[in-house]
Symmetry: C2
DNA sequence: GCAGACGCTTGACCTGCATCAAGGCGGTTC
DNA sequence: GAACCGCCTTGATGCAGGTCAAGCGTCTGC
């Protein structure tokens, strides 16, 4: 996706302008004036990531913020004595590593790039300076925190009450919705920019079970499965699967 | 518990002084100077809650903050089309309903009192005024948000990787730790101020399964079960149960 | 006192999902 | 192109825990 993204120049050197970045209005930086944003722009560095590269790792001290210009990354969470969990996906326009920054702690997990991506890095000091000065920016980060909390709690609710198949349906519907404010409700495609293992981890299940769930949904005509690209004949019918089964 | 708490006067009228409240240093208000806190104190109201009473309900617009002076309350989270989940317990010194306040949304769930409690209510307007003026207070609430997010993600990790028995052990160890910075590691007691149903919901399981897990742990001598009061012969041995079983 | 309600426990049963194991299909390396 | 490797899929099996149902103690109201 990202590697042939028309917005991102392919040749080196790789320079992006925050002021004209298409994530300008969605990222936290939307709270900043042009002048303040120019300050971010001046100190940031941009770099291309390959699939599988680590943005930040568990236990590492926070060294600033990462802002996804394009691509998708998986945010994992490490819990002592437990395997890691994939807690969320982060898409273009989202900020990574803000929690460690706000709380002044080390990173609580890893962020790994799922598709070729372009990610900007803003140094710790300028961000802190802006945060000190700029209330609305603080509020934006706070909202991000609140949104993540929402998502985590929603995840708990789903694991507690829904069978794997419904959770799969929810994930796909979610991906479909965010990739298409364009189309109507009709036939559409979504890409799954991750391995079955990652997806299983996101849904709190195992790859084998996930495959079987996808298979059964395909058998029921809810989707057509082509590896990492799914076709959805009818979004409304898929949506019906997102509620607990009647029995 | 709370009803014979020496710190809380039993007779009406019920008045507490924020400045001398024993939660003064743990609650978010710790960020405030005496003068600012006096402002909170002047506008707050205090009231006694019975077991089962609702502090705030799902969908209700935020009308301020609730500060638990004594007692325990269960915070539930509502997800559309799904049964409710118990996402956390809140103890004395904790603030309830801060998320709706910070984000300006309606309440995302319910808070229900588990034991006779005393809870103070601070009106919306004074809090907003303080938040506007007082950065450290904002930061405190932000930290609360971050801590809740941590807990929610830890919950996900546990559900994903641990069997019910280990999750039960974690809950009990957690309760034991917070109720006893006093004792050493030796024999101690913890109270479970909630129904089996609530506890099951907190652990993402069913009451029957929970009972069986407690039963099996009692059989193994890890605890002695007396309804809502558990005796723990050896906290270290219980702690061993909190990691994934070897097999 | 009794009746009803509620919460807890226990038993019996069954199923959804994890686990283990094997085979297929790209993709990469030499 | 052969050999390897990681990923996905499929099958077979077993079990943890969900579900249903009954019995029992405790509390409450009348």
């Amino acid at each position: 996706m990202a590697h042939d993204d028309p917005h991102i120049p392919r040749g080196q050197p790789l320079t992006l302008d925050c002021l004209t970045c298409r994530t300008r209005r969605t990222a936290e930086w939307a709270a900043l004036s042009d002048e303040d944003l120019a300050e971010v722009n001046a100190t940031k560095t941009t770099r291309r990531y390959q699939r599988g590269e680590i943005v930040y790792a568990h236990g590492q001290p926070c060294n600033g913020l990462y802002c996804i210009a394009s691509g998708t990354t998986a945010v994992r969470r490490a819990e002592p004595a437990l395997p890691t969990v994939l807690v969320r996906l982060a898409f273009a326009g989202e900020t990574l590593g803000y929690r460690a920054l706000l709380e002044g702690t080390v990173c609580a997990g890893d962020a790994k790039v799922l598709e070729p991506s372009v990610i900007c890095h803003v140094e710790l000091v300028p961000v802190q300076r802006l945060l000190r000065r700029h209330r609305p920016l603080v509020m934006r980060f706070q909202s991000h925190l609140a949104a993540d909390l929402d998502a985590a709690e929603a995840g708990l609710a789903q694991v507690a009450w829904l069978p794997v198949r419904s959770r799969v349906a929810r994930l796909i519907v979610g991906l479909a919705e965010r990739s298409t404010e364009i189309n109507g409700e009709e036939a559409l495609e979504v890409s799954l920019p991750m391995t079955r293992r990652d997806m299983a981890e996101l849904l709190c299940t195992r790859p084998e079970t996930l495959t079987r769930a996808l298979q059964s949904m395909e058998d029921d005509g809810l989707l057509r499965n082509a590896g990492h690209r799914l076709a959805i004949p009818s979004l409304p019918r898929l949506r019906e699967e997102t509620v607990p089964p009647p029995a």
